[in-house]
């Protein structure tokens, strides 16, 4: 272990940040893993299964979460963000703001007594608002660290000064309402940005009816709807009447490949949509799916075979088309108006449920982060990296990997995260 004593900062606790941290920790570096949410896991934790193996996402992610938590060289800082950076490569001084959890991480045993008693219901962000959680909550079932957090914007005591029921219920005295946000400094030699993506919100595309037509959902909502640990316990129901949908339409390139919106391609939607259509069919063999696409982009290992399997064995029909708009009939069924690019005809199709394959966007906070770090963004607002040195940002000593620098799938994010770890190690060797 030749790197003992040198420290590295990894920003973002999704699969990319986790892989970078694990590799660096195995090489012998001390890693500080910064996560803004109460638990690490990121977007992958929200997915039901993953293409092209249809492995359950959390089942293959959970061991890595536990490895991170157990590794003596990794220190996880949740509810944290970077607010200041000074110094230069080899010697960065970073100021971290850690928001108060109001729960002592070393005391909470995640028994759930507090959430059972907490009187305040809050839309559950992890489940894309499809269900409510309490103001004291576990971010998600398999989350690491597996301890509660209090949502200070909704907690009755923290907003109005009365309640403290959780404190009275907790068998471990783990609740601490006096906890304050705190700032602390770290000295690190290199920084890896692995902040991931935000999904596109299709509300502004009014012609597609998202938010107006209840049976139009986004792909991330669909992941939660079909997931065993999601709000419907894995029973696929459409929002309007809780009926099981039999005909599902998937619309591609929502918010992407659109010069009026985001011009870029999100790279992963053709594949994740095929996966979602397969899963729907696995849940109910009567399900038939229609995928409305522009180009089918499936270049990764086994991807073409996956799509072929989808159309042969899972009742999936791929329609090269341009969708004009979605209307709704009196039973709440969405009606899709589209131009079939195979024949040039204008057509209509009534389905039970529409899933919008929303694009992968830069994180909302990325402008602020880039400013703090002093790195540039590209014209699409992703972290700018260098051609043929794809993990280098514009600032020496700061690397980027995964969706922070552009949309990509999990294997690429993992390979890049390892790559960023190798680059960081190379940098520290020189300093």
């Amino acid at each position: 272990m030749e790197y003992d004593g040198k420290e590295i900062l990894v920003i973002g606790g999704g699969i990319a940040g986790i892989q970078a941290s694990l590799d660096l920790a195995e090489m012998g570096f001390k890693v500080h893993l910064i996560e803004k949410d109460p638990c690490i896991g990121g977007r992958m934790a929200q997915l039901d299964k993953t293409f092209p193996t249809n492995d359950c996402a959390i089942c293959i992610l959970a061991p890595k979460l536990a490895d991170c938590a157990r590794h003596p060289n990794i220190k996880i800082h949740t509810l944290s963000e970077v607010i200041k950076l000074e110094g230069e490569v080899g010697n960065f001084n970073v100021t971290i703001l850690k928001h108060a959890r109001y729960v002592k991480e070393d005391a909470c045993i995640n028994c759930g007594e507090c959430t059972a008693k907490c009187p305040t219901k809050v839309p559950d962000v992890f489940n894309t608002g499809l269900q409510f959680r309490k103001a004291i909550y576990l971010y998600y079932l398999q989350g690491v660290p597996s301890v509660m957090a209090i949502d200070k914007d909704h907690c009755i005591y923290l907003t109005r000064g009365k309640c403290q029921i959780c404190m009275k219920t907790c068998p471990r005295d783990a609740i601490d309402f006096n906890m304050q946000d705190e700032e602390f400094n770290l000295n690190v030699g290199a920084i890896i940005v692995a902040t991931g993506f935000d999904p596109y919100d299709p509300t502004p595309l009014t012609r597609l009816g998202y938010g107006r037509i209840r049976n139009v959902v986004t792909s991330l909502e669909f992941e939660r709807l079909i997931c065993a640990s999601g709000p419907t316990k894995g029973h696929l129901e459409r929002p309007s009447d809780k009926q099981a949908p039999k005909r599902i339409a998937f619309l591609q390139c929502i918010g992407s490949r659109d010069i009026n919106n985001n011009p870029f391609c999100s790279s992963v939607c053709c594949m994740y949509t095929t996966k979602e259509a397969m899963l729907a069919h696995e849940h109910d063999p009567q399900v038939e799916s229609y995928i409305f696409y522009i180009d089918l982009r499936a270049a990764g290992k086994g991807f073409q075979e996956y799509i072929k399997r989808g159309s042969k064995e899972y009742n999936i029909t791929y329609i090269k088309s341009v969708v004009a708009e979605i209307e709704e009939d009196e039973d709440g069924n969405p009606i899709i108006l589209y131009e079939d690019m195979g024949t040039g005809e204008l057509k209509m199709m009534t389905v039970d449920l529409v899933v919008l394959a929303t694009s992968l966007l830069p994180r909302k906070e990325v402008n602020k982060l880039a400013k703090v770090l002093g790195t540039e963004l590209d014209e699409f607002n992703f972290i700018k990296t260098t051609p043929f040195a794809p993990l280098n940002t514009t600032k020496p000593g700061i690397l980027a990997c995964g969706c922070a620098r552009g949309p990509m799938d999990i294997p690429n994010s993992v390979a890049e995260a390892s790559g960023a770890a190798a680059k960081a190690a190379e940098i520290l060797r020189r300093w």
Partner: protein
């Protein structure tokens, strides 16, 4: 068997609804409590969560458990985690037994929940029977040689070598051609920057001059022996042979461009490949006004079902370059799906369209037809056949695996997938590892990919290799084969069968297992006619106990 009382704990996992939605987990837990030597049983929503693992440790501590059974998803993903948890709580990891009630019960019998629950009970009863006979095993320590072998001197191999060398690891870089650079040597310009390919080859000098890198060109691997941390490599250059030791091996052997014999009238003159076009553009000898490019030539077919990923960008790049040389050129790209994922490539596609290059989608059922001075193709949108004038037809052919990559695969004992590309340990979360420890993969030998992805993946492979090379010693599997020399007759069957080359002959002619190489696969044990080989952790006692309680029923 030690005389110590056997105290078994059983943890039944709901895995959310993956298991709990089908199988009656509380009933299973109740059942486990009735089995011999089980002193504690509990069901958890997610046994692998931090809370679930804490419950295992608590159970070990409070009930003084010395055997632990988890009934859950699959040992493939979770056995290491539960073993480590046992070890942390002071129980030898080989006292852990995995009962697979997800893959083997709730998933395969999801429509028969009662029978699935009964089967899960059988499996738990068998697990408890085996756990009684489990033995504590120790993991061997092996020394790690800090040097790395990189096979392939293209951009992938050079990137791996430089990263490792800059970090102080000595690297041996082997290239079978007479110079470094690989496919890049044959390219004109690279997308999306349109830089000269030679610019990317400047890295060659750094590699050649680096004090930690030894470059061998015109060199082949002849033999590989050994195991993670300790490989003995024999290379040949002409008649000369050389041997050295390394701790890790990275495959970066690349791929080659398919030559489309018999497709679309390919003749290498008027119907050429994109690679041949690169040469023409490099030499500035292009003489064609009407150019038609045909995408997916020899790709996405029954014979070669995959998409090569880079050919669309190659075509777009070359179309732009032709247009730059000759603004009057008419270029048409016949495609099936335009593959320009991500931010930069999609922009490049839009720019290409804006430059007046035409795109026409064709269907594989009605492929284009190349004739003397034009290409005929069905325009699907208007449902009419059109004729496109062509003085030059350029075929976009996929990258294909080198035919002889199977030899390398055999030498290194690593698998390839159906198209001949090397197959990693897990396509999602272990994209550059092999199941065999100590060997890694990157670049186009793994799968066709562009230069940027090749570079980041190469760095990824360097990282993974260094997680081994940075250690002085490594722990290897304790569940290995062991030969009873009293019974062995030296027939040699096991030596021939062992896929890891782990069994050697002693001076007395008997079989001897090199335990650090052995993976405990059991092939030798199952085949030994004298039953002289025991597979530790899968002993006859353990397996027969399982069969016995299965036959006995509840």
């Amino acid at each position: 068997m030690s005389n110590k009382e056997v105290r078994i704990g059983v943890f039944v996992c709901h895995c959310g609804t993956n298991i709990g939605g089908v199988i009656d987990c509380p009933a299973l837990t109740e059942y486990a409590r009735t089995l011999p030597h089980v002193v504690f049983a509990q069901d958890n929503l997610y046994t692998c969560s931090e809370a679930g693992l804490a419950q295992i440790k608590k159970g070990i501590e409070e009930y003084n458990l010395n055997r632990v059974i988890v009934a859950s998803c699959s040992p493939r993903t979770h056995e290491p985690l539960f073993r480590a948890t046992c070890q942390e709580a002071g129980v030898n990891p080989y006292y852990f037994h995995f009962v697979n009630i997800r893959d083997q019960c709730s998933w395969v019998h999801m429509n028969e929940p009662e029978k699935a629950t009964e089967k899960a009970k059988d499996l738990i009863r068998m697990g408890v029977a085996r756990a009684f006979y489990l033995q504590a095993l120790e993991k061997n320590q092996v020394d790690i040689d800090p040097r790395a072998l990189v096979i392939g001197g293209g951009i992938a191999g050079m990137t791996v070598a430089l990263n490792l060398a800059n970090r102080g690891f000595p690297v041996k870089l082997i290239e079978r051609k007479d110079r470094l650079g690989g496919l890049l040597n044959d390219l004109n310009k690279v997308f999306p920057t349109l830089d000269d390919a030679t610019k990317l080859l400047e890295i060659k000098d750094q590699v050649l001059e680096h004090k930690n890198i030894t470059v061998f060109t015109s060199t082949m691997i002849k033999d590989v022996e050994g195991y993670v941390g300790n490989y003995n490599i024999t290379i040949t250059k002409g008649d000369e042979e050389e041997q050295f030791k390394v701790g890790a091996i990275i495959i970066a052997t690349g791929a080659e461009v398919l030559e489309p014999e018999g497709l679309f009238g390919y003749d290498g003159k008027k119907v050429i490949t994109q690679l041949q076009l690169e040469k023409i553009l490099k030499e500035k000898t292009l003489d064609a006004k009407n150019v038609v490019m045909i995408q997916c030539t020899g790709a996405r077919t029954d014979e070669r079902p995959y998409c090569s990923g880079i050919c669309c960008m190659v075509a777009l790049k070359n179309a732009q370059l032709i247009k730059e040389l000759n603004p009057d050129a008419q270029i048409t790209i016949l495609y099936r799906d335009i593959l320009t994922p991500g931010t930069e490539y999609e922009k490049f596609y839009r720019d290409t369209r804006a430059k007046g290059i035409l795109f026409l989608k064709y269907s594989p059922d009605r492929p284009p037809y190349v004739e003397e001075d034009h290409v005929r193709v069905l325009n699907q949108f208007i449902q009419k056949e059109v004729q496109i004038p062509a003085d030059l037809v350029v075929l976009s052919t996929p990258l294909v695996a080198y035919e002889d990559s199977k030899n390398l695969a055999q030498l290194l004992k690593v698998p390839r997938e159906a198209n001949g590309f090397f197959l990693e340990a897990h396509v999602k979360l272990r994209p550059v590892d092999f199941a065999t420890d100590g060997v890694f993969i990157c670049g186009c030998a793994h799968w066709p990919k562009d230069i940027n992805d090749t570079i980041s993946q190469a760095l990824g492979a360097a990282s993974r290799a260094s997680t081994i090379l940075a250690h002085r010693t490594l722990e290897v599997e304790g569940a290995v084969a062991r030969v009873n020399e009293e019974l062995c007759v030296g027939c040699g069957i096991c030596m021939k069968l062992c896929p890891y080359d782990a069994i050697a002959r002693t001076e007395d002619g008997l079989a001897h297992v090199r335990e650090v190489v052995c993976k405990g696969c059991g092939l030798c044990g199952a085949s030994c006619p004298e039953q002289a080989i025991t597979i530790l952790h899968f002993t006859n006692d353990q397996i027969l106990a399982q069969i016995k309680v299965l036959m006995e029923g509840e």
